[in-house]
Symmetry: C2
Subunit: 134 residues, 2 copies
């Protein structure tokens, strides 16, 4: 079912400092900050040859990553995103196996303009998993 | 400096259950458990088309992931590993920028038979970063 690792998302308390770590210290190709008000985050994309790292910082008052940063004030790895060919079929297979889809169970349009779903971390050994239609 | 994302490591309290999640539920290619007594872990490798997920479970009494699982009993994403062409040169550049290398500062032979180093999470916005010679 899952294909490529689309990205690893890292929640950070200081987006500029984190971007500098990746751009200057680790020498990676790093984007400017991209505000994504619909998702409650500002994102810096780190492009690696085989996948992406996304540095996430809260945007607005109801950011979905604020609680994570409250628990992990230094920041930390927030989720992994796997690509699937057909997100509705993937959702139905997962639900049939008793896995919980977050929210109302319907895909939303994610940060890359494609449908995404999040799966309950307790159903995947503590890892928040995002699925994105490839 | 950094090249490909070599792997994402996820610490799990139940290796069999986590392997089943990836093999059966997510339909990925999953290895048998590989005990790595030198590293204090048993590893299940999940092969994705562009990178790997490594499911880690403590092995022995001084496992380096036991403290993480004590704090995160459901499991969670433990570290990311980036490839570098020359690990000694990478180490020296990082140390020159004030970044802390864990342990005695010398690379050890990692799970893939190549030299690796770990960098202090507090120097990388809360993320434990492993560097592996490509």
């Amino acid at each position: 079912m899952i294909g490529q690792l689309n990205h690893v998302a890292i929640a950070v308390p200081d987006l500029e400092a984190a971007a500098a770590d990746y751009r200057e210290t680790l020498g990676a190709k790093v984007s400017d900050p991209v505000p994504q008000p619909d998702h409650g985050v500002t994102v810096v994309f780190v492009e690696l040859p085989n996948t992406k790292i996304e540095l996430l910082h809260p945007l607005g008052e109801k950011s979905p990553i604020q609680a994570f940063l409250d628990k992990n004030p230094s920041g930390g790895i927030h989720h992994v995103c796997y690509e699937v060919e057909d997100i509705l079929s993937a959702r139905d297979v997962l639900k049939g196996q008793g896995k919980r889809v977050l929210g109302d169970g319907n895909p939303k349009i994610g940060a890359h303009g494609k449908p995404v779903l999040f799966l309950h971390p307790k159903d995947f050994t503590g890892t928040l998993v995002e699925l994105e239609q490839a």
